[in-house]
């Protein structure tokens, strides 16, 4: 393994900067300048291209193969959306232009994208209005929690607590906490969904809201959802919908019609924008009518003549959550995707996502334990408890899948299932791909009985084997600092 800094050759250059001819001496006091240049690598353009091409060979994306990472909705990302995002009319548009006097007329196309995307998402989610500002799913959750706080402040409610089920994503409690709320955890029942009786005992006047994922992280739709919403609303609490699993419901069920007041959607999941190895994503937030006045500033509005403007005069707004209008180029991609699907396409997305997940579940349930043996929605959750008894844990199954050419499923989540293996195939995968994955999973299940040691040695096809995470955390080396300093302790 060689770092890009290790390949540096003093004096070598890649990109040449243009016309330095305006003057020689730097027009800034010497005292304000750094002592030595930043120790960035010195390479040719070809050196740089080869370095990163080599690194890309040590990676795996949806375009490489099957990526059933549960809760992450790793569907195919249509290429035309990327092309559109690079059109100069969008890519070169400075975000401050609409803040200039007379600037709004110069950004009408971009404002139309924001407004229309909001309209489509509102229709899909049964909400009154959306903001595109939140920059990721968790950022949407924080925005939602801030809207909950603004609502209660406006009503004069003294609320301190947000309730979150034990099966929730970790971002839910973290987001509620940094918005200033106490978090209480609601247990799940034997059916894998939130325990309504437990919830009833926890709902009191201190409850500001409940954050739920629906279907939940076990891929289960809670048919008591309306009762839960009524219960929460009875103390003037708000229902927050974590849209991580919206891919299961598109066109079949709208969060706003089953009792939810606030929704975030992950455009990098349901709406097919690329995940980029960990981002950027986008987490637009939608609200019902009575909460629209609390949405972040600015808000895209339309004049009577149909032209758009940005409204900054929002006295009850929670304020700015992003510098401008969100991760615009991501919103744009999602808009292109929705335009291509149309109403019919959206329905087919969720139907095929749900069918693919149920197919994988049906084919594997003879081989792995199924904690909740019921029809799932867009993802299914197995437990490797049976295999763990033979010494092969979920993590080993994951690594064995890598050697068989697949990206592993999510493991050890949700926390409510021991040795959890959460599989989300998505609608874009073919039956042939699913069958190949199923065969690999069955072969691994057989090997746990006949040759577990072979599985414990996985992966063997990758540039490195299982890495020592304890060492990484105990003696952290998080940067190579160059000649002057050393990154090691």
């Amino acid at each position: 393994m060689k770092l890009i800094f290790d390949k540096s050759v003093p004096g070598r250059r890649a990109v040449r900067t243009t016309d330095a001819a305006l003057g020689d001496a730097i027009p800034i006091d010497r005292k304000m300048l750094r002592d030595t240049p930043a120790e960035l690598p010195e390479l040719s353009e070809l050196d740089v291209v080869r370095h990163f091409t080599e690194l890309s060979g040590k990676n795996y994306g949806v375009d490489s193969g099957f990526y059933p990472l549960g809760s992450c909705t790793m569907k195919y990302n249509p290429k035309v959306a990327d092309l559109i995002s690079q059109l100069p009319g969008f890519a070169d548009l400075h975000p401050l232009i609409p803040q200039l006097p007379g600037g709004e007329v110069m950004v009408q196309g971009a404002l139309a994208v924001l407004s229309e995307t909001g309209r489509l998402l509102s229709e899909i989610c049964g909400m009154a209005e959306f903001t595109m500002q939140p920059l990721a799913g968790a950022h949407g959750e924080l925005t939602g929690a801030m809207i909950i706080a603004a609502y209660h402040k406006h009503k004069g409610n003294e609320k301190t607590t947000i309730l979150i089920p034990d099966s929730a994503h970790g971002t839910n409690p973290a987001s509620a906490a940094i918005a200033g709320y106490d978090v209480k955890t609601v247990p799940s029942n034997a059916d894998g969904v939130i325990d309504v009786n437990a919830l009833r005992s926890m709902v009191d006047d201190s409850v500001a809201g409940v954050m739920l994922t629906c279907p939940n992280t076990l891929g289960l739709f809670n048919h008591h959802i309306k009762n839960i919403a009524d219960l929460v609303h009875s103390v003037d609490g708000l229902m927050y919908y974590d849209g991580a699993n919206l891919n299961a419901l598109l066109g079949h069920c709208r969060p706003g019609e089953i009792g939810f007041d606030i929704v975030h959607v992950n455009l990098h999941k349901t709406f097919a924008t690329p995940h980029g190895g960990g981002g950027p994503g986008a987490g637009p937030v939608g609200v019902v009518e009575r909460l629209t006045e609390f949405l972040p500033t600015s808000v895209v509005c339309a004049h009577d003549d149909g032209s758009y403007y940005l409204d900054y005069d929002r006295p009850k707004s929670i304020g700015y959550v992003a510098p401008f209008y969100g991760n615009f180029a991501i919103v744009l991609r999602a808009y292109a995707y929705m335009l291509m699907l149309g109403a019919e396409g959206l329905l087919r997305v969720s139907e095929n996502a749900v069918l693919n997940a149920n197919y994988v579940m049906a084919k594997l349930k003879g081989h792995y334990d199924l904690p909740i043996d019921a029809a799932c929605m867009h993802e299914c959750v197995f437990s490797a408890s049976r295999q763990a008894a033979d010494g092969v844990r979920a993590i080993n199954i994951a690594k064995a899948l890598i050697d068989r050419g697949f990206h592993p499923m999510t493991v050890y989540f949700p926390l409510t299932v021991p040795e959890a293996m959460m599989i989300e195939p998505t609608e874009t995968e073919s039956k042939e791909t699913l069958d190949a994955f199923i065969d690999a999973m069955i072969e691994i299940a057989e090997l746990t009985k006949t040759d577990p040691d072979q599985l414990l040695a996985c992966p063997v096809t990758t540039p490195v084997g299982q890495l020592d995470e304890t060492l990484a955390a105990r003696k952290p080396n998080v940067a190579s600092l160059g000649q002057s300093e050393n990154g090691d302790d």
């Binding site: 770092l3 890009i4 990109v15 900067t17 305006l22 304000m32 930043a38 960035l40 353009e45 291209v49 990676n59 795996y60 949806v62 490489s64 992450c72 790793m74 092309l83 559109i84 009319g89 969008f90 890519a91 070169d92 400075h94 110069m106 950004v107 196309g109 959750e141 973290a174 906490a177 089953i258 995940h275 190895g277 960990g278 981002g279 950027p280 994503g281 510098p323 209008y325 991760n327 291509m340 699907l341 149309g342 019919e344 396409g345 329905l347 087919r348 069918l355 149920n358 197919y359 029809a375 994951a398 874009t428 039956k431 791909t433 990758t462 490195v464 890495l467 995470e469 998080v478 940067a479």
Partner: protein
């Protein structure tokens, strides 16, 4: 249907395997009264139709202006090799690197990014990215509260007004004593800060170059803050660090900033890149993902996400931050950009920006009635002019000549209605700068 592979025949086979008669059966768990009655969304379009429609919308935007707009978001030249590398789908279509053995590409790139950010800022540890420069300032404030156990924060008003608004939104329910100090003649006022700082001050936040484009040496401020047991947070513009004294050299404790200028287009507001770096001693207090170097059983070096005990998926409501998805691909973009520019290239680029701004400033100040707002200060590539009339009016007038002349400071500073913030990057040619000066002179 677009992007769905299975045929009707395959769906029938799969339904048989599942034991369902129709796909509809699989939605039986949703009670009928909770089902959607239909979406009011038009039929789907073909790829060609969508491309044409959106190209039409793109043309409704005026992206062809000769722009002197900055304000924290800058139009720098982007080398072609950058897009080629970043578009590689092994990077582009991967998720967060939860499985390190097949994510060494992303992980090594992030480690190198963290290293490059440290080298650029003069710090010792960086995280894998935050959403943008504004959320990075907010995260730095939250981190300073964790480090010091205190509740009071001073933000100078020479920090971007957009970021100050964001910080105010985020902290309004948290019982934090967030105070603004008033800058003096374009720089943080040492006396005002000394008067307001006390033993409950967790951090002082400044920006360099600041929102007015003025450069400062804040070594003395670091000393003042440290003497009271607080931290100095510096927000900075990474291109300027090709030349300027680093926050590390000035003894800052947390360095943040907007990384957009490192190879990302302005894209009407995002995606951008929040970066954060700090001292090693505060590593475990940092928010966000961090990549570390380690070894496998055979002693081969490799990279993993590390110190995850700080994060939401482990610590839930006790995590240092709620961040999960970050700006991974933007971090990669900035690393590729810094690699293509290189050690000499970034220093040179930084110098060109400073020179061009210097040339523009000299020329504009020759126009009768135009003066510099903060005389005696040093500037990098942005500066504030006093105009003999409202900046709004000037901007409107110059739009007609195809110029975005700058940002009118009156929008955020009511007493500065006649002030124009002008930014110059290497993309602006001498002819364009001359045209701006000529057009402004004609107008005044």
């Amino acid at each position: 249907m677009p992007f769905i592979a299975n045929t009707d025949a395959q769906r029938q086979e799969m339904l048989a395997a599942v034991g369902a008669e129709s796909v509809e059966d699989l939605f039986a768990n949703i009670p009928p009264e909770l089902r959607c009655k239909g979406l009011d969304i038009p039929p789907g379009l073909t790829e060609q139709e969508v491309r044409n429609q959106l190209a039409g919308l793109a043309e409704h935007n005026s992206s062809g202006l000769i722009s002197f707009l900055g304000g924290g978001f800058y139009d720098h030249f982007i080398p072609a090799a950058l897009n080629t590398i970043v578009s590689r789908s092994e990077f582009y279509t991967a998720y967060t690197p939860y499985q390190p053995e097949i994510s060494q590409g992303t992980l090594q790139a992030i480690y190198e990014y963290q290293s490059a950010i440290c080298r650029l800022t003069g710090m010792e540890a960086a995280n894998a990215s935050l959403y943008d420069g504004g959320t990075a300032v907010y995260e730095a404030i939250m981190m300073s509260l964790r480090v010091t156990g205190r509740r009071k924060v001073l933000v100078d008003d020479s920090v971007s007004p957009i970021y100050r608004k964001m910080v105010r939104s985020y902290t309004s329910n948290l019982g934090i004593d967030l105070m603004e100090t008033q800058s003096r003649e374009g720089l943080p006022d040492r006396k005002a800060i000394a008067d307001q700082i006390d033993d409950d001050t967790a951090a002082v936040i400044v920006q360099n170059p600041n929102f007015f484009g003025c450069i400062d040496d804040v070594t003395d401020l670091a000393e003042m803050v440290h003497a009271r047991g607080g931290l100095l947070i510096v927000s900075c513009y990474p291109i300027s660090l090709g030349l300027l004294k680093t926050p590390g050299e000035m003894n800052a404790d947390i360095v943040v900033g907007e990384g957009q200028s490192l190879g990302m287009s302005v894209s009407f507001g995002g995606p951008y890149l929040g970066f954060m770096a700090t001292r090693r001693k505060y590593l475990r207090k940092m928010p966000g993902r961090i990549v570390g170097l380690t070894v496998d059983a055979q002693g081969r070096e490799g990279f993993v996400l590390t110190l995850q005990a700080r994060e939401q998926h482990i610590r839930r409501e006790k995590a240092t931050s709620n961040i999960c998805t970050n700006q991974g691909l933007c971090a990669l973009t900035s690393l590729v950009y810094m690699s293509l520019l290189g050690k000499q290239g970034l220093a040179e680029l930084s110098g060109i920006c400073a020179h061009k701004a210097d040339y523009a400033r000299d020329l504009l100040l020759k126009i009768p009635g135009v003066t510099i707002r903060f005389p005696g200060r040093w500037y990098f590539n942005e500066f504030v002019l006093n105009l003999p009339m409202a900046a709004d009016k000037v901007i409107r007038g110059l739009f007609n000549r195809g110029l975005a002349a700058g940002f009118p400071l009156g929008r955020y500073f009511p007493e500065m209605n006649n002030c124009l913030l002008v930014a110059v990057t290497e993309k602006r040619t001498k002819e364009e700068i001359d045209f701006l000066a000529h057009s402004l002179e004609v107008m005044l």
